[in-house]
């Protein structure tokens, strides 16, 4: 069953079409990869899905419900949460307090929220950092904190925006393991990523965007062997 359906979504900024007529759907329990060159409109699409921008045209259906015009907080309450390409830690709060803010979307008790937060910190293997200030973490841990905080809101669909960007190979490997772990728990994910090897490994299906339009969609194998994708994005070496 499709948990997320994107139907002919367009987003215009003045005369510029950041997204035009993008349609695809994400099946429950799978990982959808979203790739494309810089400026292809990947993050804009995330913003349209999660309520930061209203789509100019088309509609977004989540769990069969029309999401257009809903604010991000409402989107989160309904079970869809995103992380940020440029990480946004709540710098002056401790790591566990950051994650608690996410958990408080589901409970009003600080005690329960703290327990939920510690659980998520275990998932990303950061329990030992619980009392550190979020602003003092290195980039690798900031990225994991983003994921833990998003998971603490108990989403049905997790949208990860370049969660491996800027990480070294070992850190990326850890994140890949984490994403696959999350999938095992049945959580649907949509992942924007530039690292082709990584996205090939984790995705069940991949959507390719260029200049705001959907170029193609398919399994990782189909996508890398597609001549248009090679021309637009991958270059000769992947052929």
């Amino acid at each position: 069953m499709a948990i997320l359906e994107i139907k002919n979504v367009s987003k215009f900024f003045g005369g510029l079409a950041a997204n035009s007529n993008v349609s695809f759907s994400v099946e429950e329990g799978t990982i959808m990869g979203l790739i494309g060159p810089n400026g292809a409109g990947k993050t804009t699409l995330f913003n349209c899905i999660t309520g930061y921008y209203p789509p100019s045209k088309g509609e977004v259906l989540f769990d069969g419900r029309r999401m257009n015009g809903l604010q991000p907080d409402k989107v989160c309450k309904l079970g869809m949460v995103r992380t940020w390409q440029k990480v946004r830690p709540l710098a002056k709060l401790s790591v566990v307090d950051n994650v608690m803010v996410g958990a408080l979307a589901r409970t009003s008790s600080l005690k329960t929220a703290r327990e939920m937060a510690m659980e998520q910190l275990k998932v990303v293997r950061m329990e030992h950092r619980a009392d550190f200030l979020a602003g003092g973490l290195p980039i690798g841990e900031r990225k994991k904190l983003e994921v833990a905080r998003a998971l603490a809101t108990q989403p049905k669909l997790l949208l990860l925006d370049e969660v491996m960007g800027g990480l070294n190979p070992a850190e990326s490997e850890e994140i890949i393991g984490l994403i696959l772990d999350i999938k095992k728990h049945g959580l649907t994910q949509m992942v924007i990523e530039h690292d082709m090897k990584a996205i090939m490994r984790i995705s069940d299906r991949i959507v390719v965007l260029t200049s705001g339009e959907k170029l193609t969609e398919g399994t990782p194998q189909e996508v890398v062997s597609n001549q248009d994708v090679i021309d637009a994005y991958l270059g000769e070496s992947h052929a």
Binding site: C76, K92, L93
Partner: protein, 349 residues
């Protein structure tokens, strides 16, 4: 000894001492200083909830202070309404004002919000000057006769000495500290701080930004209005510049900036510094001190110069202090203390 028990013990001792002060201190001046201190704590703490925790740096808190003060004073002056009743009217009026201001200003962020908050307070000040039938305009309202609060024939409160004001002020300061403590240890506090640290991230985590900002504003404004009513009744006089002026807003902010924004004890610390300091500067204590320790003689040119000018320069000195604190302790005194404690902790480890 257990740290929490120690803290509770210190708290109890301080509280007992504060409660006992009027029994042993007769000097109206000393009581007056304490009342000013309590007033400052409650003002700073009220601002702290919105400015310190939620990060919405309002430079228009005079609006709430003044509306609270004016409402209570107008009712007392024109209708002989007892202040105990008048404060509730003040708070109700302030809630209305706050929600109107919030729904407009919270569409703006950062410096734009600051400018809007200044503008709103100025509108309030100008309204108070011009709505002469209600507010008596620039002349202000003088109401030194406080009607006694009677139930049947029994007089419950009279305000003949400073002592009742002392206890009310103390209660107000403790109330605002308690409210801040409660905010800090509840979902509200977490949501406020999330909004302060990163509004977009907070939004994505299920926080309805406008709702929580307005909750913060209403709590903050109601407490500020209580402080305003208290000030009005205590001084017995309100006019537009003293309760609605821009410097009132700035003064309220400074308590937190100097003490440490977004900390429970910051406004207390800030008040402990600013209240005596501004009093010392105003009453020329510094010149007296310099004379006493023999640095300058009263009759010398310098002495005469200082005596004549220093009192007038108190705003200037005050400004210099603020600049120094902001330069060297950007997180206020509480931030500075915490940093020192952390450093000592690191060295110990």
């Amino acid at each position: 000894m257990n740290k929490t028990i120690l803290k509770a013990l210190i708290g109890l001792i301080v509280l007992a001492a504060l409660l006992a002060v009027p029994r042993y201190v007769d000097s109206p001046y000393a009581l007056h200083m304490m009342i000013l201190l309590f007033l400052s704590v409650s003002q700073g703490q009220s601002w702290n909830i919105l400015g310190g925790y939620a990060g919405q740096h309002s430079v228009g808190h005079a609006a709430y202070f003044g509306v609270g003060a004016y409402t209570t004073m107008m009712l007392m002056h024109a209708k002989q309404v007892v202040p105990w009743v008048g404060v509730w009217a003040g708070m109700a009026a302030v809630v209305v004002v706050a929600l109107i201001i919030g729904s407009i200003c919270f569409r703006l962020r950062g410096p734009y919000f600051v400018l809007a908050s200044i503008a709103v307070a100025e509108i309030m000040r100008l309204s108070a000057i011009n709505l002469t039938t209600l507010t008596n305009g620039a002349e202000g309202i003088l109401a030194t006769e406080i009607p006694a609060f009677k139930i049947g024939e029994t007089v419950v409160t009279e305000f003949l000495t400073k002592v009742p004001f002392y206890y009310i002020g103390l209660f107000l300061a403790l109330l605002t500290i308690a409210v801040t403590y409660w905010v800090q240890h509840s979902k509200l506090g977490y949501y406020f701080q999330a909004i302060r640290e990163d509004q977009d991230a907070a939004h994505s985590l299920g926080i309805h930004i406008a709702v929580y900002k307005n909750i913060g504003l209403v709590i903050s404004a109601v407490l500020t209005s209580l402080a305003g009513s208290f000030y009005g009744i205590y001084v017995g006089f309100v006019d537009p510049p003293t309760v609605l002026g821009l410097d009132v807003s700035v003064q309220i902010m400074l308590i937190c900036i100097i003490g440490g924004m977004g900390t429970l004890w910051g406004p207390v610390l800030g008040s402990l510094i600013l209240v005596p300091l501004s009093e010392a500067l105003r009453s020329n204590m510094i010149t007296d001190l310099l004379v006493k320790i023999g640095l300058v003689s009263v009759d010398s040119k310098v002495g005469v110069f200082l005596k004549e000018n220093l009192a007038h320069a108190h705003v200037l000195l005050y400004g210099i202090l603020v600049v120094l604190v902001i330069l060297f302790m950007p997180d206020g005194l509480m931030g500075f203390v915490k940093k020192l404690a952390a450093r000592r902790h690191r060295e110990a480890v």
